[in-house]
C-alpha cells in the first residue's frame, strides 16, 4: 500500500499506468484532486504534519484493505505551494470487481479529507484564508 507525501509535482497519468501495470485485478479506480480556480483565487498552500501524515495515510490505506479485497492501493498527497490547475493528490485502488475498487477509493477519499493532517490555505488577490472543513465531509464519514 504505497503512500507518498511530497512537495514535488507528479504525473497522475504516469502514476495510474505504473499502478495498473502487471495487476491481476480487473478494476482500477483513481481519484485526482486538482486546485480549482475561481473567486479570485490564484494559488493554494497546503500545510501538513510531517510524520503523522504518512502514519495516518498508511492507517487509512490499511483500513481500506481490511474492508475490501484490494490487490493494491496508492495514495499520493502534495504539500506546499500549488498553482491553480495543479494536481494536489491522487488515490488509486485495484480490485477484482469494480464495486470494491469504487467503494475503497470513495472511502479513502472521505477519510483522507477529514482524518489526515493536511490544511489548505487559499491565496487570492484579496489575501489568504484557511479553508474551512465542511460539515458534508464529516457527514460523509458516517457512511462507512
Amino acid at each position: 500500500m504505497p503512500v507518498r507525501v511530497q512537495t514535488a509535482a507528479f504525473d497522475a497519468g504516469a502514476e495510474l499506468n505504473g499502478f495498473s501495470k502487471g495487476l491481476a485485478a480487473g478494476a482500477v479506480v483513481s481519484f485526482t484532486g486538482i486546485v480549482r480556480g475561481g473567486g479570485g483565487m490564484t494559488a493554494m498552500e497546503i500545510e501538513h504534519y510531517p510524520g503523522m501524515t504518512e502514519r495516518a495515510l498508511t492507517a487509512i490505506a490499511e483500513e481500506a484493505s481490511r474492508r475490501w479485497s484490494l490487490e493494491c492501493a496508492l495514495v499520493i498527497h502534495r504539500y506546499g505551494l500549488l498553482e491553480v490547475g495543479e494536481t494536489i493528490m491522487m488515490v488509486a485502488t485495484a480490485a477484482r470487481h469494480r464495486a470494491e475498487a469504487f467503494q475503497a477509493a470513495d472511502f479513502l477519499m472521505d477519510y483522507l479529507k477529514s482524518r489526515a493532517p493536511f490544511w489548505k490555505k487559499e491565496i487570492g488577490e484579496a489575501g489568504t484564508s484557511w479553508v474551512d472543513a465542511k460539515a458534508s465531509d464529516e457527514k460523509a464519514l458516517a457512511r462507512w
Binding site: 497546503i46 479529507k113 482524518r115 489526515a116 493532517p117 493536511f118 484557511w130 474551512d132 472543513a133 464529516e138
Partner: protein
C-alpha cells in the same frame, strides 16, 4: 518535558509552530487550559474548543484523552486534505 506542536491558524495565532514545556496536566483538555494562559495568542487560538483537534504522539484523540507519557502533543483545526 513535552513537545507541543501547532498547525494552520493555531500556529499563526500563537506565532510559533512548536514549543517545549513541563506539565503535569492529566489530560489534553487540562493541557489546553494551561496553554490558554501562556499568551494572548494562545488564548485566541484556544478560544473555541469546538474547532480544535488534537493528536497525542501522532494519533488523533478526543480532547478528554489522558496525556500519559506523551512526548508530543499537536493541536490543529479540522483537517482539510484531499
Amino acid at each position: 518535558m513535552i513537545d507541543i506542536l501547532y498547525f494552520a491558524w493555531l500556529r499563526e495565532r500563537i506565532g510559533i509552530g512548536r514549543e517545549r514545556l513541563e506539565t503535569s496536566a492529566p489530560t489534553v483538555a487540562a493541557l489546553i487550559e494551561e496553554l490558554q494562559s501562556r499568551s494572548g495568542g494562545h488564548a485566541l487560538a484556544f478560544a473555541d474548543l469546538s474547532t480544535i483537534r488534537a493528536a497525542v504522539d501522532q494519533d488523533l484523540v478526543e480532547l478528554d484523552a489522558p496525556l500519559g507519557n506523551a512526548r508530543e502533543v499537536a493541536f490543529f483545526p479540522p483537517m482539510t486534505g484531499g
